[in-house]
């Protein structure tokens, strides 16, 4: 069974550009989470989907970040326009149900120059 997969593994963009990150959860997992780790800091929660609905987006840093999960399968996280402080590793995780164990993807390393 495939785990959580994320694309791309690394993205380098210039300040002001747009980047879209994709996450494919484990098949059958209704819950999908986005987290982020910026340099020197701990991994921090961004938001939580149950199927296609946003359950909580309290960790989203600002309105330059937009997450979607149309159809309740894969999710995208768009950053527009990107700023230098958005650099970091973006992780996606999925779980079978809320309160169940979360399994992480390998992450997308975003570098904003």
């Amino acid at each position: 069974e495939a785990g959580v997969t994320q694309f791309p593994s690394h993205s380098v963009i210039e300040k002001g550009q747009t980047v879209t990150l994709r996450c494919d959860p484990i098949s059958g997992h209704d819950n999908l989470y986005w987290y982020r780790r910026v340099m020197g800091k701990e991994i921090k929660f961004l938001l939580h989907f149950v199927k296609e609905s946003k359950q909580d987006e309290s960790g989203m840093p600002n309105n330059r970040f937009l997450a979607e999960r149309t159809g309740g399968t894969y999710s995208t996280l768009k950053v527009q326009p990107a700023e230098l402080e958005d650099s970091g590793v973006y992780f996606c995780a999925s779980s079978a149900q809320t309160g169940a164990l979360q399994y992480f993807g390998a992450g997308t390393r975003l570098s904003v120059l």
Binding site: V4, Q6, Y33, Y35, K41, E42, I43, K44, F45, H48, V50, Q55, D56, S58, G59, F91, A93, T98, G99, L101, Q102, Y103, F104, G105, A106, G107
Partner: protein
Amino acid sequence: QKEVEQDPGPLSVPEGAIVSLNCTYSNSAFQYFMWYRQYSRKGPELLMYTYSSGNKEDGRFTAQVDKSSKYISLFIRDSQPSDSATYLCAMSLALQGGSEKLVFGKGTKLTVNP
């Protein structure tokens, strides 16, 4: 005060040593406690999890939780070079509306030398 404190290390030990990794936390609302292992350029891999105070053993790994002291530990016996990784403690927190999130420590980088 951070919700979860973890000594980032680095920690270097010889092969065969017993390793002790620790986290403290301040939020009594945390529900369950996990240890993730992360190899370089990979995602966090779930290693151990527990819901209650006490010990849980899995092979060479033992997870310990002391809710009264708000302290969790991971012990690795007979450490191997393949155990070299960053170890992250994480705790689950229920959010409003039925959601939840994980709150992580910064991670401790462990190197086991052959």
